[in-house]
Each structure stands twice: as C-alpha cells, then as structure tokens.
C-alpha cells in the first residue's frame, strides 16, 4: 500500500561516531557526500537542505542548513534549520518531507552533525536564572543521568527490575555494535563488567549511561515520482513521522523541569507523552507494533531502552524485563530486534545527528545492507526518541 504521504529515501550516509575533536561541519559534509553518492544524486540537483542544529558550536551550528550548504558550495538551494534537542534530526526530516509533499521541491538533503565536549552535557556558560536548563544544574545539581536514573529506579521499585536486567540491555547492544563500522564503541561487554563499573546516578552504572560523541548523519529524500524518474526501483519509504509535543497535564517529570504538570484541574491524558510519540507515527503510517521487524530506540540509559519497549507497544507496562531476559529483542531473537545498530550504547549521543542516524540504520536494514547485524527479512521499522523541552520524534519506514 502506498499512501500519498510517502516519500522515498534515496540515500543514507554517516560519518563514524567518535571523539574526533574536529569541526562538526566536516562530519556533516562527509555524511552528506556519502548520502549523495548512495542516492546517485548530485549536490547541484538538491533543491532543499534541512539542517538539524547544534547548540555547542557557535553561530554556524544555529544555522546548520546554510552552514552545510555553504560548505558543499552555494548552489542556490532553499534551506531551513531546526532545533528540537535530541529530536532535531526528525524535525529536519519532517521539514524536508513537508516541502516534498506540498510539491514545493522534489529532492532534499537532511543533515545533522555535532562536536561534543567531554563529560556531562552542561548548559552554556553565563548566569541565566530564567533558563530551566541552567537552573536545574545550579539549584539541584540535576544532570541528564539524574533523570534517566529516576526512571530506572521506578522500574525497580514498581516492577522488580534489577541492575542486572539493565546490564543485559548494554550487553545486547554492545554485541550488536560489534558489526557496525560507524559505531564508536565496538567491544563486547559482560553483565559483570557493567555491574562493576562505578555508579554515576543510583541505580545506573557508568556503562549503563550513554556517552556524548562527535558524528554526522545525512539522508537524501525525494517524492515517490522523483524516485521513479530517477530509476530508484523500490526505495525504502518514510511512511509516518511524529514530532508530537506532550498533552497537558504531563504527569511524568521530564528533563530539564523541576516539576511535572499538575493534574489538579484536568485529568492526565490516556497516553503518556512517551506512549504518544510512536502512536502518532503508527496512526499516520497504518503500521503498528505487530508489523515491525526492527526498532531503533533512544537508549540514553540501558534502563530507558526497557521503558521504550513498552512505550512503542512491544509489550505491556512491567513486561520489558521479560523481553530482554528471553532474548526477544536481540538479533536472531523471537521478537522485534531493538537497536541492531548497537544504539546509543555503542554510539554515544551526537545530538542533532542521532535521530537521522536512527533512520539511516532502519534504511540499511530494510534494504538488506546491514551486513553482520542484518535483521533477516526486515520489512518495516520504527525509530523513536525524545528531545529536551517536549520534543517527540518517531519515524516509521517500510520497504
């Protein structure tokens, strides 16, 4: 079935993740050129460039689409840059898709890249007492892992999850990442090694928490008509995109907030924010959890991957531990394979590139080009992540 909302993925490209310490523009351009070559589309044929911004690299990062367009050589292409924290890549893809579906352009380039500092992601310098992201560090000392740990501890106290359950997620993803040339960490890890690593934010150990990385990812996307004219055969299609915000009152406390919304006057919605992210992409695409072969979820922590199993509909609340213990979500398991790329556990987070990298992985999986980490016979996949300040991000793809 082809809906009139479909667009084609003609090309996918990445610059390997790492701590390279070079300018983010280099990673973006490497990824863009790889995607253009993969698509067989020339740079001068790109009509629209959607950039996912980085906040840590000065002005060029705030106008990323123009930055990448200039670096590739001004060609007169139209541009739009967007920022939605970790969801920026999906927002950039949604922007490109809207241009294509509106008939305003035929073929577009989507690029995100980042150069990150060492250690915890911290706010930009200077006193900003009206910025919640500054305030949570100053008043509470609440880092990103603090919030991941709150969710992890809740699984333990409510569902009986153990630190070993969380470690199993890391072990699975580390094994997947061995086969991914773009992954930063390609080394097998044991459960005991995870549990022996120092605790950062109880109950999460250092090896439960994703690092920050440099990296770049890019996609060449087009209308289905352009893909046919281009001789693309049966390209992987984007079937649905969700960039939803929460519905008030969101009673789950979210980074970087001090408090959840209040449900004193209005009852909470039927779906939590995280549940609603893929729900919107499933509804648009007509593809649901039962149709999936593969999922790329945002494992900022190993425990958070278990939350996502439930949020994207792989199982009911409290059942995710069973999936990881039964090996259902591992390559060759009985269920939907989760994070065959190795996930953030093997990549570390390169914020504006990450949601695009998720789509690159699903594209390669659906083309059967994922090598030693290939999910056999993959026909449909989903990506999901959540960006700071209320940004949902999910993309449903199929052959």
């Amino acid at each position: 079935m082809t809906s009139n909302h479909d667009i084609a993925i003609l090309g996918a490209g990445m610059h390997p993740w790492g701590k390279w310490g070079r300018n983010f523009i280099e990673y973006g351009i490497d990824a863009a050129q790889a995607a253009l070559v993969d698509a067989g589309v020339g740079w001068r044929d790109i009509q629209f460039v959607a950039g996912a911004d980085t906040m840590r690299n000065g002005y060029p990062g705030y106008v990323s689409a123009a930055t990448f367009a200039q670096a590739l050589g001004w060609s007169g292409a139209q541009v739009a840059s967007s920022y939605a924290a970790c969801a920026s890549g999906a927002t950039a893809l949604a922007t490109a898709r809207a241009q294509i579906l509106a008939g305003l352009c035929d073929v577009a380039l989507v690029v995100g890249a980042d150069t990150t500092p060492k250690g915890f992601l911290a706010p930009n310098a200077g006193d900003r007492p009206d910025d919640p992201d500054w305030l949570r560090f100053r008043l509470l000392g609440a880092t990103n892992p603090s919030y991941f740990a709150l969710y992890a501890r809740r699984r333990m106290d409510l569902y009986g999850a153990t630190e070993r359950d969380f470690a199993k997620v890391k072990v699975k993803n580390a094994r997947h990442g061995l086969e991914n040339p773009n992954a930063r960490y390609r080394k097998e890890v044991s459960e005991d090694e995870v549990l022996a690593s120092p605790i950062v934010a109880s109950p999460l150990h250092l090896l439960d928490i994703c690092a920050t990385s440099d990296g770049g990812a890019a996609l060449v996307v087009s209308s289905m008509d352009y893909a046919r004219r281009h001789g693309a055969g049966s390209p992987v299609r984007v079937r649905g995109i969700s960039t939803v915000t929460p519905t008030f009152p969101n009673t789950v406390i979210e980074m970087p907030n001090f408090a959840s919304d209040s449900s004193a006057a209005l009852a909470p919605p039927a779906l939590t924010f995280r549940d609603s992210i893929t729900a919107a992409a499933y509804e648009e695409s007509g593809i649901g959890p039962d149709d999936l072969s593969v999922a790329e979820v945002y494992d900022l922590s190993s425990a958070l991957e278990l939350d996502w199993y439930e949020n994207i509909g792989l199982c009911k609340a409290g059942e995710a531990e069973r999936l990881i213990n039964d090996g259902d979500t591992a390559l060759g398991g009985n269920g939907v394979t989760v994070n065959p790329s190795g996930g953030l556990a093997c990549f570390g987070e390169a914020v504006p590139a990450q949601a695009i990298a998720q789509v690159c992985e699903i594209t390669w999986q659906l083309r059967g080009q994922a090598g030693g980490r290939q999910v056999e016979g993959a026909t449909a996949g989903v990506t999901v992540n959540q960006g700071l300040f209320g940004h949902g991000s999910s993309v449903v793809l199929s052959t």
Binding site: W134, L139, L140, A259, S262
Partner: protein, 146 residues
C-alpha cells in the same frame, strides 16, 4: 557578623520559611484551579483554559516519593560544590497528591538513596545550598518523614 540568608539565584520567591513550616510557593489559576510550580508567569498552561490571573499558593509540605537517585560524580557548573573533595548528594522526585504533581528536590543533608523507596513519605525543609563570604544561599530539600 552573621551571613545573610537568602534564596539561591533563580529560586527567589520559589519557597518561603515564613509560617509554621517551610513551603514551596507556586501559583494557582483563578479560572481553572491548575497549580504551577515554579509559578506560571503569563497564561494558564491548561489548553482548555484562557486564564491570565493567578493567586499565590503554598504547596503541600508532605508527599510521597515518585522516584529517587543520587549524584556520585560532581555535576558541572553552574552547580556549586560545597565540599572538597566532592560529597555526593541524593535527589527525590516527590508526588504531591493535592496538587497532582511531582516536584524534584535534593534530599536533606545526611540522607541517601537507602533511606527511600517509591511511595515512602517525605517532608519539605529549607537548607543551605552553598555559601560565600557574606551569604548563605538557601534551597528547598526533601527529608524522609515517618
């Protein structure tokens, strides 16, 4: 000379030590009754309400633990460390039933994650967050209660 006791920069007006017990101070939409912490500034954020007028409200001073963690490594600036070497502290997200909301805070000095479980009761206290030569900068914290 004693130091001036004042809320930490950014938290002015967020809590009070006046009255019988310290309390967080938020505000409440006069039209729909939704509570906000920190206080809402301009518009009610209930999508079905167009209220613009709020009254100040003291939040419940007791609640139950929604979840909890600690910080075993020193957070980056603008966090201000109070001890050298760094001393870990704990955080609790606390459910306030009357307000239908969860509020994050550090755990009172001397308490850690072993003192809590999801659902256990806590109460609000005000303690020093950090000091300089002239000031004691204060903040709200959660303290395990019986």
């Amino acid at each position: 000379m004693s130091k001036t006791r004042t809320p930490a920069l950014g938290a002015e007006g967020w809590f009070t030590e006046d009255g019988d017990a310290p309390a967080l101070v938020g505000n409440k939409c006069i039209s729909c009754g939704t509570v906000f912490f920190p206080a809402a500034s301009f518009f009610c954020r209930n999508p079905d309400c167009d209220g613009r007028d709020f009254e100040s409200t003291r939040l419940s001073t007791r609640g139950t633990v929604w979840s909890y963690t600690d910080a075993q490594y020193q957070p980056p600036a603008p966090f201000v460390a109070t001890a050298d070497p760094y001393e870990p502290f704990a955080l609790a997200a606390v459910e306030l039933p009357a307000e239908g909301m969860v509020v994050l805070g550090q755990l009172a000095a001397g308490y850690g994650v072993d003192d809590l479980s999801v659902g256990s009761p806590v109460e609000l206290v005000v303690e020093t967050l950090f000091e300089d030569d002239d000031h004691e900068y204060t903040i709200w914290k959660w303290k395990p209660a019986s």
